[in-house]
């Protein structure tokens, strides 16, 4: 089965900034002596994929198609699962399911919460 492509491959500033930080799990984990091969957010990310598919908001075939295209182009240098996360955010932004501005705002709020003493 082929999936018709209408994926917008234009780089997105927020996601470009993230991918250029070099903070992928395979970089961070050895730095701290952690041997778990997967970041703790990997399964929650799969939960998001599945929840979006189940609700019809982002069907699995469309997400997978976009993930493949983005993974072969814009995010080809990024390992999984970071690549899958960037591809999801990219797809949601380009489809108007989220806006970059609100995502930036929310990320700021989340970070502040996680770093709270």
């Amino acid at each position: 089965m082929s999936v018709t492509s209408d994926v917008d491959l234009s780089p997105i500033a927020l996601l470009e900034a993230i991918r250029h930080q070099g903070k992928e799990w395979d970089v961070l984990a050895p730095r701290y002596g952690v041997t778990n091969p997967d970041p703790p957010w990997k399964f929650p990310l799969i939960g998001t994929f599945e929840s979006l598919a189940a609700s019809g908001s982002l069907p699995a075939l469309e997400r997978r198609g976009a993930e493949d295209e983005l993974g072969n182009s814009v995010y080809s240098e990024v390992p999984a699962p970071e690549r899958d996360l960037l591809a999801l955010a990219h797809t949601m932004l380009t489809r108007g399911l989220l806006t970059e501005e609100e995502l930036v705002r929310r990320m700021r709020a989340v970070r502040s919460r996680l770093e709270a003493a």
């Binding site: 939960g47 998001t48 598919a53 970071e82 996360l85 970070r111 996680l114």
Partner: protein
């Protein structure tokens, strides 16, 4: 009032060092949470949906693949359908690759091909590029499957790598390595072993372990799990037996 952390972590009874952890918060971690929260706020799904799917994704294993192989061994018509169109035949055992949110799962849309072993041909699967794996059937890939060692060397020296898993095949058996990719996943249908005549599908499924379906082991009567050595405890408990909850 007590809290969960008021017990001692430094007493002689269970002094231990905390496992290392990544002590910084990456933007990936923050992004995952931010996207999820915005989805929930927008009503795209609920937090309960998310928890349920996450729990399901974490819990899948190779049982579906084992069922498929057992059915192939006992039902020639099913075997024919599996070899002709593996993706379609999987629906008969409740795995729908086109509907990952059904009993199938997680987030793997792909084309599935079953590889039948014969007395002169043995298959083994790999993903040389990354870690593609038939998750709806086999669950999550083992760590070694994703290692550079396995991915690099299996395609060059399959016989040697299989021997490292304890699988030594006679020279007359051809070894074929199938490289998975984004759109095509493979799984090995091993040969039914001797000594299993009249076994039920359920009995047969128990000896079809994950490693047999990857192709680094062969099904054997009496062997119902992939054995991976575990280090002996360096300080085994000396006095009381372990509590039930532990």
């Amino acid at each position: 009032m007590t809290t969960a952390h008021e017990h001692s972590h430094s007493g002689d009874d269970h002094a231990h060092k905390a496992a290392p952890m990544v002590e910084e918060i990456s933007d990936y971690e923050v992004l995952e949470l931010a996207v999820r929260e915005l989805c929930i706020e927008r009503g795209l799904f609920t937090a309960e949906d998310h928890r349920r799917f996450t729990e399901f994704a974490e819990s899948i294993g190779p049982a579906a693949g084992s069922r498929l192989v057992a059915k192939v061994w006992t039902d020639p018509a099913f075997k024919k359908r599996v070899l002709e169109d593996g993706t379609k035949a999987c629906k008969e055992i409740g795995i729908d690759w086109f509907e990952p949110t059904g009993f199938g799962t997680p987030s793997d849309y792909t084309h599935f091909v079953a590889l039948e072993d014969t007395p002169t041909l043995h298959h083994v699967i790999v993903c040389t590029l990354c870690s593609c794996y038939p998750r709806p059937l086999l669950g999550h890939s083992p760590y070694w499957y994703r290692s550079t060692n396995y991915r690099r060397r299996l395609v060059r020296w399959p016989r040697q790598v299989l021997a490292e898993f304890g699988l030594i095949l006679p020279p007359e058996v051809e070894i074929r390595v199938e490289d998975s990719n984004q759109k095509c996943r493979f799984m090995v249908i091993p040969m039914r072993p001797e000594g299993t005549k009249n076994w039920t599908e359920e009995q047969l499924a128990k000896i079809v372990t994950r490693d047999c379906m990857i192709g680094v082991a062969l099904p054997t009567p009496g062997k119902t799990e992939d054995f991976h050595p575990v280090h002996k405890a360096s300080r085994p408990a000396e006095s009381s037996p372990p509590k039930a909850a532990e």
